[in-house]
Symmetry: C2
Subunit: 617 residues, 2 copies
Amino acid sequence: MKRYLTVTSLDAVHDLLRKEFACTPSVEKITLEHSVGRITATPVFARYSVPEIHLAAMDGITVRSEETREAGEQHPVTLAHAMRVNTGNVVPKGYDAVIMIEDVWVDDERFIIRKAAAPWQHVRPAGEDVAESEMVLPSKHRIRPHELGALAAYGITTIEVLNVRVGLIPTGSELVAHGTRPSPGQVVESNTVMAAAMLSSLGATCIQYPMVKDDPALIRAELWRAIAENDMVIISAGSSAGTRDYTADVIAELGEVLVHGIAIKPGKPAIIGRVAGKPVIGMPGYPLSAFTVVREIVTPLLRCHGLFVNEPETIEAEITSTIHKEIGTDEFVLAALGRVGDRWVVSPQSRGAGVQMSAVRANAYLKVPSALEGFEAGETVPATLMVPRADAENALLITGSHDPVLDYLADMLGNNNIDLHSTHAGSMGGILALKKDECHAAPMHLLALDGSYNTEYLKKYLPGEELVVLCVAGRQQGIVSREGVTFNELPGHRFINRQKGSGTRMLLDFELKRAGIDPSSVRGYGREATTHLAVALAVKCGEADAGMCVYSAAKVFGLRFIPVAQERYELVIRKSNMDDPRITALCDAIASPAFREILDRLGGYDTKETGVRRALP
Amino acid sequence: MKRYLTVTSLDAVHDLLRKEFACTPSVEKITLEHSVGRITATPVFARYSVPEIHLAAMDGITVRSEETREAGEQHPVTLAHAMRVNTGNVVPKGYDAVIMIEDVWVDDERFIIRKAAAPWQHVRPAGEDVAESEMVLPSKHRIRPHELGALAAYGITTIEVLNVRVGLIPTGSELVAHGTRPSPGQVVESNTVMAAAMLSSLGATCIQYPMVKDDPALIRAELWRAIAENDMVIISAGSSAGTRDYTADVIAELGEVLVHGIAIKPGKPAIIGRVAGKPVIGMPGYPLSAFTVVREIVTPLLRCHGLFVNEPETIEAEITSTIHKEIGTDEFVLAALGRVGDRWVVSPQSRGAGVQMSAVRANAYLKVPSALEGFEAGETVPATLMVPRADAENALLITGSHDPVLDYLADMLGNNNIDLHSTHAGSMGGILALKKDECHAAPMHLLALDGSYNTEYLKKYLPGEELVVLCVAGRQQGIVSREGVTFNELPGHRFINRQKGSGTRMLLDFELKRAGIDPSSVRGYGREATTHLAVALAVKCGEADAGMCVYSAAKVFGLRFIPVAQERYELVIRKSNMDDPRITALCDAIASPAFREILDRLGGYDTKETGVRRALP
């Protein structure tokens, strides 16, 4: 069993990168048309003056100003020298002013004026815009789209820009190419797709090499080729210390391993090596580990190679839940960031390194520094933006019980340029978030002993608070199974349950009691899954015969669904937030006929009361 | 003479665009690899669950947890069912946990454990990342680079994105193609290059049509073709009311002109028309007018066509000089924005619509609203960013007398990621900016009666202030001419002077007095140009025989230069700003051998005292 001998801190890794790999950047000559977003390697100079000669700045006549000196309202002057010019025409030698056509009288092809012209009036002097050999852009300048106009006008057709060529080698016998549906145990090669997109957007040129099986000889051959063709190489996967992890060995054979194991999470099994003087990065296989290594290790390495990359913007925000972690590791946690009232709040998302969806859903991330044991809920911490600030300003934070219809609401709100971010915290989590004013709206379905929904809980946990309760839909919960198990047939089947405290668990217990079924007679009652989909999947995979979930989850996997009860899925909003345009748009979307159509199409929802509001207290 | 009958306000234009052209966006199907930065037209759903089946999350053995229940430190259990698995391997049916390899003892190919395994420990459950048919991206979402990994992993190979096809027709008989050196009176066609780069970066697809001469029949034919092939068309130039401006007529023939003349500056002669139901924009020919029309008219029009474009960020800043304008027109002024001490300041730049360099140099712009007569110096006004906020935070503001070496310093500072913005205000303007703490450093060369530079002026205008004066270089001023005119030969030649108050004018007067030459004997003494380059150009073009300027200006145009005097070009900085990392970097650059080499190469500078500092008082 191989082990990491030492784990290097992120700060030490950054020092090492600067020390070992700070080198003169590569330079690539590209045509102007392809230069937007690229970074100039050398200053850019104007090839000639613009304009090169004095031009008329108005439609009119060009004159010699000294001939106009005597002209006045009562003293018209017929000009000896004058020529018709349009805007942009050359002002000929000897002429030094332009008179607008509306101030000119024409008599028998001679021009008469009644006002003197000041020297150089309405003349666009040579060099007004730029002088020959003037510096137009300094080096290290990221070219903006509108600058292409000036560059074209100044005779610049090619530009030397910074470049870093990055070779990407995907390894792993389990890999199939993007576009192929993976068989069980196969994995789509997506990490180099992600790395290429991220690094290209920063101005690097990426070459993707073919997928290589877990065979040291093959990996070695590909690495050797990539080193010859690039400024740096990333080997995807195989960086850990398992029996089939060859990346470190191959780097050591061809060069040296500088670091194996970095004190970051996710991303710990990363490698930094050097072959033929060029950096080789071993990128871990878990998608979010790979993402973190690209962002925290490869991006700084691009900077060491001279490619200027701005640090992303951070916003100080109040964190909504506690993060615990080990001291000695920098941990990166994806998050949903938004403005509630007049303050920024940030909700950490799932920390599983395999959950790529967290990175799709997140608009920010948190760095919990090495020296800390974590962040406490309520602390103000810096959140790093993953979207333009304006998008974060428009984020709508929904915290509570998740339902797929929230995704459809997110889709509808896109028309208003609002980003809906849903944090899955369960119904009680939603009540808590609402109490602490950490979200804009909390979706919930909490069943009271009297069979009513939500009201009793809101009265208990948010007494006296002014709230608006908006019905999203009646939602069917039922028994999911492969073979049509009914509620009363649960005893005798292998069951998969939801966790304690979830609305579905409460509903099950309520219905079991009403039907007089003893929970202990249900085999697997103690086995808990945390989402509707996890329940349906366990049934789909044959690990359980039945479970309770919403219709949509059963439908995803083509399973049978026998309704048991209808619950009230409602959205609770503080009355003080009802004027927020994000909330207005959300309420409008829920009340719209389009949303009812979606619910009807998805199935499992009763739309009779969709959009109905009540106020509390 | 054609006239604008009415000029429409910008707000009215925006209303009209929304009313007349709000339409369903075009949809284009593209491959995943090309999707970064594009906006989803429809929601994107996962093709299958990831993972589709339970996988090992660790290297070790997979077991049936019930068989492990009795295991303990003193009670090893030999497992009846167990299989070796690596991370990512399938957990077979019937197995429900993984034990890490380091907790396993192997004896004769049988596995022994000393600790019970919890059900589902170290198992990555099916659907953990994403469930089949789950919504991955809503519509109207701008695709971020890192999302390509998730999309690839979820089986997504093509994406429907929003698209607006924009046809660009350059018109004008004076045009030559980009890459051709224009003869006098010719102009490089650059406005559609600029428009295409800007609109493409917002997600539009631009087609550039060939250049068309000023001939209504030809323009008509090209417009008809472009209308058939695009969602909107921009006709570049010919939108004014001159004798060769056919854009409005052609639009009226094929459709209708909705607006001719918009109350904006620059950009007034813009046209909004409709042909076959599609918008046609007449874009004025002056580069900054064209830029403004693309930004203020075409970009909102993209929004009407469903293409989501974020509003740029604004920053409240103190304006350093007064802007006067007419009521009734929205005026846009390019500006240099930066942070001096703890406040943002913004300096308006040249307002000439032909000076494209202003847009290259600017990092922000100001909108002076229609209802106002302008902004007063010192007012706090919103400045719209043209760069990422981080770049504006790093802006180094230099206000005062300009010299080309400032461009070279800007180039050197690029290595520190500092943006040097130089506002040309003359030496006295620099003193004023320094007094009001509106810049980081002020370059100047102010000659006192005793022949010393700068000190007397600083004592007079900034009495008692703690300042650091840093010598950039000794700078030669001399007589520029085609034929080698000397200072004493000035009487009898046609002269071009600099404006009153400029350092060069003061130096000329000082030297004339010393030489006993009467200014009135110098023909053209009263004729003023405002820059060194303008003086050299006037000589180059034969409008004058001689002028006084710095060596670099003479060199640009290949003119003769006879030195007259050496002046001290110095940079003045408030002592309190000396610790600012931007100032430190600036001082380091000036003191560097690389900078001396540049000065020596450019010629006309004395580097003996370059980098020498003195303190005041």
